[in-house]
Amino acid sequence: MGLEPDAKVEEAGGEHPPALRATPFEGGLVGALRAIPFAGGYFRIAGASERGARLFFAACASTSMLIVLLIFLFLFKEAVPFVSKPGLSDLAGTRWVPVSFQHELFGILPLVLGSLLVTLLASVLAIPFGVGAAIYIAELARPAEREFLKPCIEMLAAIPSVVLGFFGLVVLAPLVKAVFHLSTGLTALSGAILLALMAAPTIISIAEDAIRSVPRSYREASLAMGATHMQTVWKVTTPAALSGIVAAVMLGMGRVVGETMAVLMVTGNAAMMTLSPFDSVRTMTATIAAEMGEVTFGSTHYQALFWVGITLLFATFILNMVAQRVLRKYQRS
């Protein structure tokens, strides 16, 4: 009913009466009062549901923030007693021996080093492999090849990491052992290869999108100058897609840093201070996953594991920040 006068005015093609223009949204008692006879009620209901919807979405948005805060709080709450009892300096030790009859040691450096080594190795393997595959699919493959390759890569992404871990244990580790003549195939390298396989689908599909979205005109300009297809790919298309490729790599590695299952299964889980790809290592994630289930609630070991978690959290946090920086820098230029 409230809208009827309005509709008539529209039909007549005339201007809105001044009262209609003054909706309650303009604020002020006068505006609100003037609006009532025409559309005040209607607008008020709309206003209420608008506010409700706004609140709902705001709640959704702040929930994630709240959860991050709670996680931080929880982590620190559980970890804090460690500060006074063995002392934080114990964490900087080079040996992780959490269960011992004589003297327990909670040095997380070998775990940090293990994570670092596996992640770096995985990047070294995944970046050229992933970007190369992306360039092939985006620029060189025939349409039929593309149609075949893309689902294959998506399938690789769908393999659960435990299953990939099986593959690593049964196929990859013996292979690494045989090829490099090692005493065991459960090494940092084996873990890195698995992680590279996990990061590859993300890197490939995002980098491919980035390469394909490079304007055709760049390619044409290069070809028209007498560049070959390969020169064009190498000197024009890939550099122009660089921001997207960097984003692809960062996202791919993001998936890898926090990965637990596969590395737990194939890296050998020896907490050693080493930088050799052929040694067994133990990552932070694998340590938490392996030991959390058996640790005595509230014990020093339990608190130390929380410190490992905090360290991991900060590592990913910093990695994310650096990634954002890099991305912004490339986008600007």
Binding site: Y218, A221, A224, G226, A227
Partner: protein, 255 residues
């Protein structure tokens, strides 16, 4: 204005197909050396397609096919075993929409020379300066060569693209509506530039703008539905065309 120099490009009986659709029918035309040849005609008449057959840029479109002969300085560019990259180096191209690379001004112009093995900084600098001078852009950019090419105005970008094309030392320059996306001042700038470039280069230009064709070209070819209807000295074409269709198009009765 028209002098009888020898033909730089001789096209005879050229047919061109996009899949099953024939876009060019029996095109035969001589393009004279160091003159400006304008290709005019309504949209979709095949003039851009024809332009792109001269440096085989249509090759990059899947499913296209050319029949007939295109001689560039006597050699058939559609002969088997033709080095297409080498051809495109000799037959440069400027596109309708300026398309500088997202690199610095210097790197844009140096792109071609670097591809062909020029490495020395001094030599590159020299080529870049010479090309920018020829494209009439040097004075405006000489103090900011390391700046991004994307920061230039549309007209400047188009002249940068011309400089980039000149940097590899082409003999022939193909221009596909090079000024259609530019404001009148930049257009005038490009037209003046074409006048200067014809001293050294054979130029083929596609244009929708009749006045532009009349102003810049020595020879005009009128395309219609994939055929060349009429070719001749620009002055004759615009004053006393022999074909009714040509006259109708030029006087604006259709198209």
């Amino acid at each position: 204005m028209v002098t009888n120099t020898h033909a730089d490009v001789q096209v005879s009986d050229l047919n061109f197909f996009y899949g099953a659709v024939q876009a060019l029918h029996g095109i035969t035309i001589d393009i004279p050396e160091k003159q400006v040849t304008a290709l005019i005609g309504p949209s979709g008449c095949g003039k851009s397609t024809f332009l792109r057959t001269l440096n085989r840029m249509n090759d990059i479109i899947v499913g296209t096919r050319a029949e007939g002969r295109v001689l560039v300085r006597g050699a058939n560019i559609y002969a088997p075993g033709t080095d297409v990259a080498a051809l495109r180096r000799r037959v440069g191209m400027v596109f309708q929409k300026s398309n500088p690379f997202p690199k610095s001004i210097f790197d844009n112009v140096a792109y071609g020379p670097r591809l062909f093995g020029v490495r020395g900084r001094n030599e590159l600098t020299e080529i870049v300066e010479k090309s920018l001078v020829r494209a009439g852009l040097w004075a405006e950019v000489k103090d900011r060569l390391p700046a991004s090419a994307m920061a230039l105005s549309g007209g400047q970008q188009q002249r940068l693209c011309i400089a980039r094309a000149l940097a590899v030392g082409p003999e022939i320059l193909l221009m596909d509506e090079p000024a259609s996306a530019l404001d009148p001042r930049s257009t005038a700038h490009i037209e003046d530039l074409i006048g200067e470039l014809r001293e050294n280069y054979t130029i083929v230009i596609v244009t929708h703008n009749m006045q532009q064709a009349a102003r810049v070209s020595d020879i005009t070819a009128f395309f219609y539905e994939g055929h060349i209807i009429e070719t001749g000295p620009t002055q004759t074409m615009f004053t006393t065309p022999t074909q009714k269709q040509t006259e109708d198009y030029i006087t604006g009765r259709f198209g």
